[in-house]
């Protein structure tokens, strides 16, 4: 008979618990996809605005901003304990799709032009790459924050 009166305070106490429960347990793949989409849209918009701001007709670092936002959000969720396997799967799915998407991307490049445009285009495309490749070990050595010896010499297993 008194069920209604007894239950009410119980629900009021339980309400915040239900919210936390919702965030931690009832994950959905679409939540992950939506979080990823939120980061993408926000980051790309910042990139577009930054491009406009410095007067360039291109997106400046949109993907980079989006990625940083995702990393920060992911960090924040992990600290608060709001991690959920299903939600994570919504993001993991796309990072697993990355290589297939890159394969599709390489299939729509204008390879014919690259191959048939003569020696000067080949040289102008390849020479800078070789120049930059040669710089990589040098830059890596110069900018290495920690001396290698700190953890002993590193020998890859394979």
């Amino acid at each position: 008979m008194n069920n209604g009166l007894v239950d009410k305070p119980f629900y009021i106490i339980q309400y915040p618990l239900i919210v936390i429960h919702f965030l931690t347990c009832t994950g959905m793949i679409i939540y992950g996809v939506a979080i990823l989409a939120f980061c993408y849209v926000t980051g790309q918009l910042i990139g577009e605005l930054l491009g406009r701001l410095i007067g360039v007709d291109a997106n400046v670092g949109g993907v980079g901003f989006a990625m940083l936002l995702l990393i920060l959000l992911n960090d924040w969720f992990a600290k608060k304990g709001y991690t959920n396997k299903l939600t994570d799967n919504g993001i993991q799915f796309w990072s697993q799709m990355y290589i297939p998407i890159v394969v599709a991307m390489s299939a729509i490049q204008n390879v014919k032009v690259a191959v048939s445009s003569g020696v000067i285009a080949l040289a102008a495309g390849i020479v800078p790459v070789l120049l930059c490749l040669a710089m990589i070990p040098l830059l890596a050595k110069l900018t290495k924050a920690k001396p290698v010896d700190e953890h002993g010499h590193y020998h890859p297993v394979s």
Partner: protein
């Protein structure tokens, strides 16, 4: 008649058909990698190179600019491999990246971006000089094309280059993207490209987002977010530097 029905059906369901085709390419590449090369050449590298071969065939067959996507039944490749899906997938790889590493090596990324744009530009200019170009506008446009295939035409249009020079700059940029894609997994061990620190330098120096993302994917997918993070700033900064500072420099030098 029945051929026509199939063509129209596949065109209408382009994206899904592209999923199927890419799945088949990935599977056959894995088989080839395991059986024929004993896993020496990574499956993803084989898959990406087959993609480039398909793009060449598509280009020759249709005479268009978008590789295999110019054939109607493969038009779904255009959406699946377009910049929207590509960037969305690149962002998602950030999940596995360490913010700490990025913060520690962030300044290295900025340095390599600066060096990458200047070095690529000068390399392109040197090649153009060798082939007999002497005017500042053509030199700058070809140098910009050596950055990426977007920086080239943007710069050329801004400083008033002729259309054949702009076409040449685009071709140089595409060659760069293809060369980086194919070359990266093969040179990776010689340049120490096996850690996030070097991957960030690599992304900044190479800059071509499609080349860097495909090259790193074929080398080690774990490195993709680090390379992509710096490469994503390259085209924008290139579009900023080439028609302004670097063009002025070229004008000073040629006068």
């Amino acid at each position: 008649m029945s051929m026509d029905i199939i063509t129209r059906f596949l065109e209408k369901n382009g994206l899904i058909f592209a999923f199927l085709m890419v799945g088949v390419i990935m599977y056959s590449s894995t088989v080839i990698s395991n059986r024929l090369t004993n896993k020496k050449i990574p499956a993803s590298a084989i898959a990406i190179i087959s993609g480039l071969v398909l793009a060449y065939i598509g280009g020759v067959y249709s005479g268009g600019e978008k590789g295999i996507a110019d054939l109607k039944i493969f038009s779904g490749f255009g959406l699946m491999g377009g910049s929207m899906f590509r960037d969305f997938a690149i962002v998602s790889t950030g999940m596995g990246a360490s913010f700490l590493v990025m913060r520690q090596t962030g300044w290295v990324g900025a340095l390599s971006l600066f060096l990458g744009i200047v070095l690529s530009f000068l390399g392109g200019v040197a090649v153009a000089l060798l082939w007999g170009y002497t005017d500042a506008i053509s030199l700058t446009t070809i140098g910009a094309g050596a950055c990426t295939y977007i920086v080239g035409p943007v710069t050329g249009a801004a400083i008033g280059a002729s259309s054949d020079v702009i076409a040449l700059s685009i071709a140089a940029g595409v060659v760069k993207a293809v060369f980086v894609t194919i070359g990266t997994p093969f040179v990776a061990r010689y340049i120490g490209l096996n850690n996030p620190h070097t991957a960030m330098i690599y992304g900044g120096l190479m800059g071509t987002t499609s080349g860097v993302s495909a090259g790193l994917a074929a080398t080690d997918p774990k490195l993709v977010p680090y390379g992509a993070l710096t490469a994503t700033f390259y085209t924008g900064l290139g579009c900023l530097a080439c028609p302004s500072v670097l063009y002025l420099l070229m004008r000073l030098v040629t006068n």
